[in-house]
Symmetry: C2
Subunit: 317 residues, 2 copies
Amino acid sequence: MALKIVALAGGVGGARLVDGLAACLPPENLTVIVNTGDDFEHLGLAISPDLDTVMYTLAGLANPDAGWGRADETWNFLESLGRLGGETWFRLGDRDLAVHVERTRRKRAGETLSEITGAFCRSLGVRVRLLPMTDQPVCTIVVTTEGDLPFQEYFVARGCCPVVRGFRFEAIERARPAPGVLEALRAADAVVLCPSNPFVSLDPILAVPGMRAAVQSRPVVAVSPIVGGRALKGPAGKMFGELVARPGPAAVAAHYAEILRAIVIDRQDQDRAAELSSDSLAVLVSDTVMRSRADRRRLAGEVLGLAELILQSEGTA
Amino acid sequence: MALKIVALAGGVGGARLVDGLAACLPPENLTVIVNTGDDFEHLGLAISPDLDTVMYTLAGLANPDAGWGRADETWNFLESLGRLGGETWFRLGDRDLAVHVERTRRKRAGETLSEITGAFCRSLGVRVRLLPMTDQPVCTIVVTTEGDLPFQEYFVARGCCPVVRGFRFEAIERARPAPGVLEALRAADAVVLCPSNPFVSLDPILAVPGMRAAVQSRPVVAVSPIVGGRALKGPAGKMFGELVARPGPAAVAAHYAEILRAIVIDRQDQDRAAELSSDSLAVLVSDTVMRSRADRRRLAGEVLGLAELILQSEGTA
């Protein structure tokens, strides 16, 4: 019988593993809890970058090259906005824009982010359950040597250049797990931490009050987002370097220490597997770079196999 | 010396004559006061259809075939919105959308509609002064045998089908002429009523408190929007038929009776010019259908000539 899985995901790496999991599991067995700490308002529109990346990926609409946005996108809105003197640093494509405009309209009409996300997924034929970590606004602030920066400003406008000293998740104390989140975790056989940025993608999810305890109550398997000492996309490697010292699978495992039961690391980091050895942590070495849809499915299958193994060892313990 | 002109305009016909006037006059000699009674909020965005039609026409960006929207437009936003289950009855193109998103953002930031319109015109190289009739929200309601309908619902969603009984301009009593409107009228040698719908394009402008008296204090020249018994675009002919009986130049002249000094009617209506004969009304018969930019300029020149004639006759009276 297929496992019941809850996956915690941020942007592109997370979206790809989730797509692999969706290919391996019946849709009712997979719930994805997505980071909303990067959500922000831009041009008066409610933008949810990670939710959209996961949704577009599952709907088969994601840009296969960039870590965001849609395939077959056009940029006439942005060009026209630029001519009017509007802000164009955050790139909104013509097709993508419909999601932000409609999400904003529905929010103003009183719908919650999880209701809107559910409606969008139904319209786009996404059958896996996609949930924001919370329906309340939370804002990830990157504390840098050049001051505190909201995530998108650090990430897009400043190109991740400022040196990071830490993070703050504003208003997290008032956030509650979105409806269905705790129920899904209670019903899950295992939790998968996708290869997303630990600091700005998965930590905000885990910081929602009640979330960490609920995650910790299940066997947790992570896929390291650090491969060969750096992140495939985004600033996770740079952040580890600035905050912890040496980016690598051991740093990732240490980051999730209290909750982690097993980790998948890349073959490039095989010689560093020894750093991870511990009685309580299972380590699988594999190819974690997901270039094709087949890669996603294969890696997801290995993650599920690892979860199965942990469950069996628990059953026989 | 070139005349100082204030033109009152609604949508496409008005925009075309304004474009002709702009080609005949130095930009500082032309102020255009545009209807905002059709303005509405759609998808949470502030839409100003007539302001945009005039602005796009003067900027050389208007769709040459439709009476609205931009040339070289794409529709990926709308297609994507439809797939999400959003409302697509009001057609918003990708390029056009930038104006609505940026206008909405600026309005929320506290800018007035006339400030925003001025900024857009500067960005798009429109040197003629374009002013909304008012910065306060006014809503044209079409009273029909099927109930009261906001203009866009009557016009776009219902295709002008319901039989019209009258009009209401909601909140007009709280509207004030936009900054610069009364000053421009005071300084004008003549006022031009463009060939726009009298009921839903020019009447809202004239209904702004203080506007009619200011217009009436100057010589007023109209171009009839009714040609051969019908409007070239839009429901003006149908409205005349439902409200007044026979649509024609006499009905137009009667509509503006108190303020009108001269009218340009189309050659197709030459045999009905006699209905207009009056000592106090000058009538010019010409070709009023503006197919080309040359047509616009020629008709504008004739309108200016007619205004000149009235001014001279006043001077020698």
